[in-house]
């Protein structure tokens, strides 16, 4: 018997850790992994709510989030490889050519 608020608090902790990763790491790949961590935290909250409300909508949304995450990773990693090819680096501090 686990209270649903425990799952939600765990989800909040994992989401915060993901956001912290986006803020503190400088490597584009690790930032990407942190984004995946945040998506996962949201999925955990979805599934917990599914269990509470006894409806399938939450699980189906998790399914869609996974599809979007897969698409995002495919495009994002292609972008990172392309950036690395032209700059020889994926350090986001050095990618400042769009800065006004």
């Amino acid at each position: 018997m686990v209270p649903v608020s425990y799952y939600l608090i765990l989800s909040a902790i994992l989401f915060s850790l993901g956001a912290l990763g986006v803020l503190m790491r400088r490597n584009a790949l690790v930032i990407f992994m942190s984004i995946e961590l945040m998506l996962n935290a949201a999925n955990l909250a979805f599934v917990a709510f599914t269990r509470v409300h006894e409806t399938f909508s939450g699980q189906i949304f998790v399914f869609f989030v996974m599809a979007v995450a897969a698409a995002e990773v495919a495009v994002g990693l292609a972008l990172i490889v392309t950036i690395y090819r032209s700059r020889q680096s994926v350090d986001i501090d050095q990618l400042s050519s769009l800065k006004g």
Partner: protein, 176 residues
């Protein structure tokens, strides 16, 4: 303290520890492997929550496909060593912001949950994938098909982005 609660706390400790390990690891490969363990522990949470289909697709899609893609790119680029990347003086603001986000999130959860629902009793129909498929292919059939288009667009985008420019240009020169 029930068995399920003990299991929850052990898994939560693993999930949080691997997330922190990912944030602090100096090697991108270790970060990816920490993330795999995190995904697997979240998948076991899904099993606890009566969602076996989601749990297995979590392992297949996240821990399988997505992390293999990550590891592949890490090996392609050669980012095994990120030593000296973490600068503790620059970390003060991110840590403060992360702490504020965490406090806000936990506060909102505690404030809004009101009467807490206890989950863990089995006997619902939620764990049946065929019932989930019925909902997915009736109520959510349009979003499902849009997902297919999204994946196609992502695939084309990835191919276009990772294609090298020079051979295409020389081919055009030959044709002209």
């Amino acid at each position: 303290m029930s068995l399920e609660l003990i299991l929850f706390f052990i898994l939560a400790a693993i999930a949080i520890a691997t997330a922190i390990g990912m944030l602090l690891s100096r090697s991108a490969v270790y970060a990816a492997l920490y993330l795999v363990v995190n995904f697997v522990s979240v998948a076991i949470f899904y099993l606890l929550l009566d969602a076996p289909f989601i749990a297995l697709s979590q392992i297949a899609v996240y821990a399988g496909a997505i992390m293999v893609l990550f590891l592949f790119v890490i090996m392609l680029i050669g980012l095994e060593n990120l030593a000296g990347e973490l600068n503790w003086r620059q970390l003060a603001w991110p840590l403060v912001m992360g702490a504020i986000l965490l406090v806000e999130g936990v506060f909102l959860v505690i404030q809004r949950v009101g009467q807490d629902v206890y989950i863990g009793q089995t006997g619902t129909q939620l764990s049946d994938p065929s019932l989930m498929a019925k909902v997915l292919f009736t109520d959510y059939v349009l979003p499902f098909q849009i997902t297919a288009v999204l994946l196609l667009v992502a695939m084309i985008g990835a191919i276009v982005l990772s294609k090298r420019e020079k051979p295409a240009l020389s081919n055009q020169g030959k044709e002209a």
